[in-house]
């Protein structure tokens, strides 16, 4: 089958800092014109600091394929998506698209807060490339999907953020391009809606649409995509079946692992108050490892440096499962440090998750340090570390002797009590103690 997307040696160069302050002033332009006319050499464009966001990227995608694109921040994912969606052009190389492209790089592109839900559905739909007649036809479906029918004539600035996102995604989910490009839009919204979106994307792909899906949500990538492309530093590191690529990514240290250390202080998460040094997953025996026995406690350790005193700091962890569900959040409630500003120095804070509590599978940990009153998030490093929770089949975990799949976001081993009343007819020898219990 001929491919629907053909990317050949695509490279993209950016001038450094281009995203922030590249727009010059007329003065600079005039000055350089004056310099040039007085015979002085113009600045050599080659000497300008540049960065290759993509380097020689080639791939082909067949119609109907659902392809995940993963890689850490700055790997070139967004640049690739922008080129595929024709927002920007490559410096060299070329992409051939054999179908219409709908890109969803953000939910609610073009939403205007002053306009009502109804008006924004039309505006956003047309911006995303739908025809007015097409929007009219799907209008009821979009409204039903977003669950906002009561607020259709309310300006969206009065919407809760959940409603806003639902409406925005609902419009996007009803796009019908041959190629759908989706960038991390599932990172927002509540879990039930995230699930709905994943289902909708699943449905879209079953209908033969080609989907490119960029995400940090590895379980979602594995579940939705048959094939995954791993980008690193602008080049394709791996391209193959999703489970292989994802597990290679997780193991390689490019993605999330049990240990993360920031050797380069300037790149470490933090600010001028506190800076993260390392995050580790460890066992009671003080070993750092990425697999944990479901029955044993797991320690999550954060090493950090307080650079400026005067702040009451609360280290906190955010635990997510493979589906991206926030299983729970845990903040440091060590009474010794309650309402007490942490002096300058080096710290190691460990939180212990009890054994027989987490469910089986991957647990992804986000790490943050915050101050309350007023609320300041000094840093939040999402997907900082990850580990596998492995359930034994020894029969002494919550699973017992059951070997099949077990649902649930947690798997506590509960204390069970049994009351037993034997039926007199069948068991006349029943003990009176049990009966009285």
């Amino acid at each position: 089958m001929p491919p629907i997307i053909k990317a050949q040696n695509v490279s993209k160069q950016y001038r450094l800092g281009a995203s922030q302050s590249s727009y010059g002033t007329l003065r600079d332009a005039l000055a350089s014109t004056v310099r040039a006319s007085f015979g002085r050499k113009k600045q050599d464009p080659e000497k300008e600091e540049t960065i290759w966001a993509l380097r020689d990227v080639s791939f082909e995608i067949d119609p109907g394929e659902v392809v995940g694109i993963i890689g850490r921040n700055g790997a070139g994912k967004s640049t690739l998506l922008k080129i595929l969606s024709r927002i920007t052009e490559p410096t060299t190389g070329r992409v051939e698209l054999y179908g219409r492209v709908g890109s969803l790089l953000e939910v609610g592109t073009g939403f205007h807060p002053e306009l009502t839900g109804r008006e924004n559905i039309f505006l956003n739909g047309v911006i995303m490339g739908m025809k007015r007649e097409e929007i009219e036809r799907k209008f009821d479906e979009i409204v039903a999907f977003a669950e906002v029918s009561k607020f259709l004539d309310t300006p969206v600035k009065r919407y809760s953020s959940g409603m806003y996102i639902r409406l925005a995604f609902a419009v996007a989910a009803h796009l019908e391009p041959e190629i759908l490009i989706v960038d991390e839009v599932l990172a927002v919204g509540d879990t039930s809606f995230q699930r709905k979106c994943l289902d909708k994307m699943n449905e879209v792909s079953r209908h033969g649409r080609t989907v490119l899906f960029v995400s940090h949500n590895m379980p979602a990538v594995t579940r939705l995509c048959d094939r995954t492309i791993l980008l690193d530093e602008g080049t394709i590191l791996k391209d193959g079946p999703s489970h292989q690529v994802v597990s290679a990514y997780l193991k390689s240290g490019l993605g999330t692992t049990a240990v993360r250390e920031w050797s380069d202080r300037t790149r470490a998460p933090g600010n001028d108050v506190v800076r993260l040094i390392a995050v580790r997953i460890r066992t009671e025996d003080n070993e750092t490892r990425d697999a944990a026995d479901i029955r044993k406690p797991v320690g999550v350790e954060m090493e950090y440096e307080v650079l400026r005193t005067g702040h009451v700091l609360m280290p906190n962890y955010h635990f997510f499962n493979e589906e991206g569900v926030n299983v729970f959040v845990a903040g440091d409630h060590d009474p010794l440090w309650r309402r007490r500003a942490r002096p300058i120095g080096h710290y190691l804070s460990t939180a212990w998750i009890p054994g027989n509590f987490l469910s089986e599978g991957t647990v992804i940990v986000g790490v943050a340090i915050s101050t309350f009153d007023p609320v300041v998030v000094h840093f939040y490093e999402r997907d900082a570390v990850a580990f596998q929770v492995v359930d034994s089949l020894d029969g002494d975990s919550a699973r017992g002797d059951y070997g099949g799949p077990m649902p649930g976001v947690v798997r506590p081993l509960l204390k069970w009590e049994t009351q037993f009343v034997p039926s007199e007819e069948t068991n006349p020898m029943s003990s009176p103690e049990v009966r009285n219990a």
């Binding site: 727009y23 332009a29 969606s85 024709r86 054999y98 179908g99 073009g110 079953r206």
Partner: protein, 300 residues
């Protein structure tokens, strides 16, 4: 980005959608779109622009809709702006400076000039700012970028339409009868629109790179107004400056409006200059726009 539109193939692509199993869509033989570094060649691609006319409509509609949000007087401002300026002009130019207005009562004379002027200046101001104001769209979704500044001018055209009936009222009040000259009006509105698109488009593109435009535009607008026969008739311009003066396309246009409305003789020579100048500016502006367009998403 070079884009070769092949909209004819689109319907055949949709047939795959209904199939539940792995479909085999009929892919076009040639790519629908090619994304690559564009050389120096500039392709206006009017066909693509036409294909996005619904988007243009909705962008204009949005601008009109939100322009007067949270104002007490709402769309009345579209009338009040030229009306209040007309009253000030009447006081200063007619009562104090006693300027001659070619025999037409000054208030209606001024309003007839202010109407196209308010349209033009409003259009280039909002369209000059439009790309930067819509940066979030430019970095997130593809569509012909020209739509954005054109929509800015389109919204000003709507305000023009709202302010127009007052002119009819004024003409009725001053008992100015219509002549066949009125048939020229649609052409004049078209020329004003095209000129506003040309200037606005160019300003908007330059503004992406040099934010100086935002500060320079108000002065440009002010100077341009005094260089055009808005508050005074072109007849007061000394003969030796006449040619220079007529190089300003708004001279011919505004004089044209008055001739069309008040039945004064039409200055064909001056109008004859407006058309090529406007078209040349339009060609230059859209060419420059297309050239600068490829870096919009990277530098905005």
């Amino acid at each position: 980005m070079q884009v070769s539109g092949r909209s004819a193939t689109e319907p055949s692509m949709n047939t795959a959608v209904s199939s539940k199993n792995i479909p085999s869509p009929h892919l076009p033989d040639k790519p629908l779109f090619v994304v690559e570094a564009r050389g120096s060649g500039v392709d206006l691609n009017l066909k693509e622009l036409w294909a996005h006319r619904e988007l243009l409509y909705f962008m204009v509609w949005r601008d009109v809709k939100i322009r007067y949000k949270q104002t007490l007087l709402g769309a009345a401002w579209a009338v009040l702006q030229p009306l209040l300026t007309m009253l000030i002009f009447t006081l200063i130019f007619s009562k104090v400076a006693k300027i001659d207005s070619d025999g037409i009562p000054y208030p209606v004379f001024a309003y007839a000039g202010l109407l196209p002027w308010t349209f033009f200046s409003g259009a280039i101001t909002s369209s000059g700012d439009s790309l930067v104001g819509n940066a979030h769209l430019i970095t997130k979704v593809y569509f012909p970028r020209l739509i954005i500044p054109i929509a800015g001018a389109g919204a000003a055209l709507v305000s023009f339409g709202v302010a127009f009936p007052l002119l009819v009222v004024l003409m009725f009040y001053y008992q100015i009868g219509l002549t066949w000259n009125i048939l020229l009006l649609p052409l004049l509105v078209l020329l004003t629109t095209l000129l506003a698109i040309a200037v606005g488009t160019w300003l908007s593109a330059v503004n992406v790179k040099y934010r100086d435009v935002k500060f320079a535009t108000p002065f440009l607008v002010q100077v341009w107004m005094y260089a055009s026969p808005v508050a005074y008739p072109a007849s007061v311009i000394p003969q030796r400056f006449k040619f220079l003066y007529s190089l300003n396309p708004l001279t011919g246009i505004i004089e044209g409006y008055r001739a069309a409305l008040f039945g004064q003789p039409i200055n064909w020579r001056s109008l004859g200059m407006v058309i090529p100048i406007t078209l040349a500016l339009l060609a230059y502006a859209s060419h420059e726009f297309r050239k600068m367009e490829k870096t919009f998403a990277d530098i905005i």
